[in-house]
Subunit: 386 residues, 2 copies
């Protein structure tokens, strides 16, 4: 079985698995980390140790790490912080790109009733956002902008965005910048301080930690307004008894990522080899974002005229699990909004499948996927599906 | 070691432990439950099966169960749903009781800037909310009320509130009722439909499931406005890839609860015996809420003149873990707001410790706690701490 849907959700990584089994077998500690007794303190210490590890791997200060339930919560939290009192602050617009995850686009649109217009930044055909448009919008709108939200890497295409440049521009115009790093953290090196972003988010299940645990990074945590209001946990930024077990696994998974950093380059080379071999076999094949910087682990490939879902099912029959686009939208057999924003034709857009592996996936997987994809394209090419 | 802080957080229960170890060992399924491939469907089926089990144990319809990160998120979600557009709806007040958890009280107060006044319902000396005050407030404020939020059982005292009566009154006046069942679900039988409440919340870590997983029950889910906005998960009510592993453990823990229902009565009798023996030994001792209906598992006891924290430390030296009040506030050596609302004197209030066990705790624990508490009171009584 080859699982090639890491961008959708990664399996729990071996280190986390071992950690959890050991933790469950030795039976604890289990306690409310805010309790004053020894077990509470011990639980708290374990969680704060995890925070410290996460902060180091992510290049953030310890107090910039706020544990939460995942990237979507982090995104909603940042939008809430920057836009909930938009009217009082005279905020009239928010900038997001057209290739953002629906969590970002839908969060932006939710503030329309507060008089906040969602400005959709254009994307170039390379799959990279239009920086010059951003620059002129920042100059035009200035202090009327409540937030700019741009991703570090796209979930479908794996195309890496010039987020440091975005941060520079936003900082220059003093507009908060949320960098959606959900598909970036745990796949390649991210340094929060160097990024220049005001906020960044992540979900543990994207890099081998437990589901339901994530991190919001905030340059200045005092700029946050709590979205989940509780009894003062996470220094008042995020209420509710902390998910200490989940948070511990975030640290274990990030340490595992750091341990395997040297595998990124090998994965990247092998992926490029795979893509070259595939396009040599099938010159009609389109690799989305081929000329752009991309994550080492993601290939978004289309055979125009062969429906992506047909390819996905064909691969599945060979025990290889891929998707057609993102999990949130892949039930709809139309060109994804990400591809539309890039100006990809329906001819290509309806044919895509996303192949996304993990840092520790065996490189030979690409050989097997190549074989399977060859069979699929040869079979389906005879009965082109649209 | 005796862990007697279940109201703060319960250890992972044995069934959940076994379930998780087995799941981790057989390695999956891990996938985004929203993905179209077989692994995604399998993950989704597991999670939906969990939803079905949870709905049955909690007396709710399947579609009334919304998975989230825990009770605090659920509470914030309900307040957001009922009060975010307060001004447009002409909503001017919200009713909470003085013994509510700070998650509820702080959520209510967060809407002051939207013109919503927080009305604090009085509590009788029995520790039970003043139903007649509620009735007259409901009549006085009527449609200007956005929400009534009252708990089913108090986290500190274990006193059970007349929540069905509250629901009846709220329904009569057509005001939404959030029943905070965080300390109730998993400790005693709760039937959402019978309760008459519009909303109820729970956190898995209070009854042996994984931390970071919870449920919001909504009579009419379409009345909700999403707090965490994502890609349409949980039928659009709660964004973000679902915490499917956590959600599965909710079902395992609730099944475990149902399996052990017959233990409630034995626990209750043993607790009453323990309390009787303690007050016989120390007639000065005050059992908070003695005359009121209480959870089977909770004793909130004070020896006036002996500081609760001193008792807690003394018990801890005998390997028994209790707290002084709730985890969120027990760093402050003052009478808790819950006790103040009940009219408890500082003399008594500063002396309390909370002993809270789980459904499967061995009944003999109460004998050991009685011995330890006897030693502690005898020792500390000689050097009364205030």
């Amino acid at each position: 079985m080859i699982y090639a849907d890491y961008n959708g959700s990664a399996p729990i990584c071996d280190d986390v698995k071992d950690y959890l089994i050991e933790r469950l077998k030795k039976d604890g500690p289990y306690a409310n980390p805010n309790a004053i007794h020894y077990l509470g303190s011990k639980t708290l210490m374990g969680m704060e140790n995890a925070r410290s590890i996460c902060s180091k791997v992510l290049g953030a200060d310890y107090n910039q790490v706020i544990f939460n339930s995942g990237a979507t919560e982090g995104i909603s939290h940042v939008f809430h912080s920057c836009l909930d009192n938009a009217q009082e602050l005279g905020i009239k617009a928010v900038i997001v790109s057209g290739i953002e995850h629906s969590a970002v686009i839908n969060s932006a649109k939710a503030y329309a009733n507060k008089g906040v217009e969602t400005k959709i930044l254009p994307t170039l055909n390379t799959g990279i956002i239009d920086l010059s448009a951003l620059e002129s919008w920042l100059a035009d709108y200035g202090k009327e902008l409540g937030l700019v939200a741009i991703m570090a890497a796209n979930n479908e295409t794996g195309i890496i965005q010039p987020y440091e440049k975005v941060a520079e521009l936003c900082n220059k115009h003093d507009v908060p910048f949320l960098c959606d790093t959900t598909q970036y953290i745990g796949k390649t090196i991210f340094n929060f301080k160097k990024s220049g972003a005001d906020y960044a988010v992540t979900s543990g299940h994207k890099f081998g930690a437990l589901t339901g645990a994530g991190i919001l990074l905030a340059k200045d945590p005092t700029s946050l307004r709590p979205l989940i209001i509780g009894g003062g946990q996470e220094k008042g930024h995020r209420g509710g008894t902390q998910n200490y077990i989940g948070n511990e696994t975030l640290a274990v998974a990030l340490k595992n990522f750091e341990k395997n950093l040297d595998k990124i380059e090998a994965l990247n080379s092998k992926r490029l080899e795979f893509e070259a071999a595939l396009t040599e076999k099938f010159p009609e094949v389109v690799i989305i974002g081929k000329e752009s910087p991309r994550l080492a682990s993601t290939t978004y490939v289309s055979f125009p005229g062969i429906h992506g879902q047909a390819v996905q099912i064909e691969l599945e029959s060979q025990d290889i699990f891929v998707t057609t686009s993102s999990a949130c939208s892949d039930n709809e057999p139309v060109t994804s909004k990400v591809l539309k924003a890039m100006g990809v034709t329906d001819e290509v857009g309806r044919g895509v499948v996303r192949i996304s592996l993990g840092l520790c996936s065996p490189l030979e997987y690409y050989d097997e996927i190549l074989d399977a994809l060859t069979k699929a394209y040869e079979k389906l090419g005879k009965i082109k599906s649209y």
